[in-house]
Subunit: 392 residues, 2 copies
Amino acid sequence: MFSRSAKRGDKIAPFYVMELLKRAKQLEATGRDVVHMEIGEPDFPTPQPIIDAAVKYIISGAVKYTPAAGLPQLREHIAEFYRQRYAVKVDEQRIFITPGASGALLLALSASLNPGDGVLLADPGYPCNVNFARFLDCIPQAVPVDAGTQYQLDANLIRRHWHTGTRGVLIASPSNPTGTVIATAALEAAIAEVGRLQGYLYSDEIYHGLVYDEPAETALKFSDKVFVINSFSKYFGMTGWRLGWLIVPEAFIEITEKLAQNLFIASSAPAQYAALAAFTPQTISELEHRRAILGERRDFLYHGLLSLGFAIDCKPQGAFYIYADAKKFTGDSFQFALDFLESEAVAVTPGKDFGSHRADQMLRFAYTTSIDRMDLALQRLSNHLKRINHAN
Amino acid sequence: MFSRSAKRGDKIAPFYVMELLKRAKQLEATGRDVVHMEIGEPDFPTPQPIIDAAVKYIISGAVKYTPAAGLPQLREHIAEFYRQRYAVKVDEQRIFITPGASGALLLALSASLNPGDGVLLADPGYPCNVNFARFLDCIPQAVPVDAGTQYQLDANLIRRHWHTGTRGVLIASPSNPTGTVIATAALEAAIAEVGRLQGYLYSDEIYHGLVYDEPAETALKFSDKVFVINSFSKYFGMTGWRLGWLIVPEAFIEITEKLAQNLFIASSAPAQYAALAAFTPQTISELEHRRAILGERRDFLYHGLLSLGFAIDCKPQGAFYIYADAKKFTGDSFQFALDFLESEAVAVTPGKDFGSHRADQMLRFAYTTSIDRMDLALQRLSNHLKRINHAN
């Protein structure tokens, strides 16, 4: 047999944070108390009404395939959610329930892009997005972004970086790792620009709902020709269930349905029945309570990092990440993260997991842990910085 | 915006059975009692110990991401299952938990094949397998098979159809739609042949366990360089949970891990915790009881179809399908299926959903319903055939 792997493997970089996770586990096995600020997953449990709905369904025993596009009731709930929260009307037929936002992104890109097509993405950005494009033999075109555009692509950047092979633009707002939100006018202008260029616009809205200053606008507000990726993982507290959704332009319903049937058969039935309880007033009230807690954490961590000398040139407004500039302390943030973990038992994610633009000076801190734990982490960070200063 | 879908969509045929399903629903809405023999999903509920394990896990509320490769305990259980059931030793590191067998097949093909590579598959066969190859811009090479090789590829067919672009061979046993099992010696020889040709061998074993005459042998018995796809859906009664597994050769662990991280993040946590109870003596005892029931149904339907004049030239030994030759009654089995549904309210799957080889004379009957219901279906089939004869 051949033991040569496919070429796409060479193009997909491993996650550097995995090395940190492995070392963190080893430290924990020796009894050290590691503060985890690398985790992209809230520490809250799944809301009780969602748990209850899942249990009620599961104990029936009849856990069967659902339609490939998802439970009709769940698609209706999502359409209703868009009406209520965004005042946007979405035909249920355009809504596909998927195995996580991962499944949604795979469907969106594979329904629209051919091998060799280029896709513009912000650098820094979520690394899997780049890898999804590579997986489909498309060409990810990383565009360096900075505070001038809230670390987001805008119409100008899109125009400047578009070339003959470019076919799509992915906008992720709030952004992972920066937590920054695209301005509403900038989103509208970007969508218009992609329309003018006759491209595809993919709007990754998986951190929608987790915004702490003002609500984020959906791309659907400005066009029904965009692809919108969303998820039950983050705002709805359902990470482990692996459930997301994709909204496609009407012209893509047929191909998306065919791809979903073939690639997934269906999404998890327990997760879908659980998610039927995600939009109830009781659940939303709990989620809004959690959002308030996350907002306090954001403020706490933001001020804490600034006071230690990190630079954060665009205040994060959403998700649960702060992307802090450590250039005052290091020119190799991966090594910094390894040393910090070793000396102080705090895990953070190095910038190079999110691209190459200024990656060696950046660190991502996730506020997916309590203020008490973050307070401890900041004390340890302060100690670590003193030690570095002392050594220099 | 562009509204042109990706070219891969043109290469993926819709499932003809969907048209039947749609019509069946309409008939049911008017009060007709449709017998469903088109469904590739057992009518048994998920076994109670699996339900109990799921509920126990879910009520904890901490439904979080698992490692991308799956829960370590579940990978160990699967390794132990191979030791006990097949007397085969598999390193846990080679076992990846996936979102259904669909996820396993996507990983296996994408970890090993490059765009343009050819894959040999049996015609008739499960249509999604062909479409997975197309999805990755590989070339499915459908090989017509018949009763002479139990509707399976064998070393001779592989050798004859292998050309310079061919890189892989997919063997699915027991087969969907034929229910036939590859002979153990033929499997061993096929694996040796693919080794000699320096190709990849993918063994789809999702219907393993559901065999009624003698046990099916795993491809791992003959080589640790093959890819094995399996699932909790069929034998373990967990279709709606969407959980499968993939066993890769050691040289593919790294790329498979990277692909799984990027494509899925992780498989469903509730499904994985549920599946921890899939290998307990209590569950296995229930599954073996179900297997006995399915075996009786197989015999009932097999003799029933033969007595009505259908030809079945290779007795199906596994899965829950009989692929019956209706050439005595029709030269257009899709039309036959539509007419039969209309006149007698029984749904079956037309041959053209499984390829093109003799597809217009074949029908797939699934014995995923009780003997009483099948008895009714056979009476209705008898009426339908009489009506046809009368008309001719």
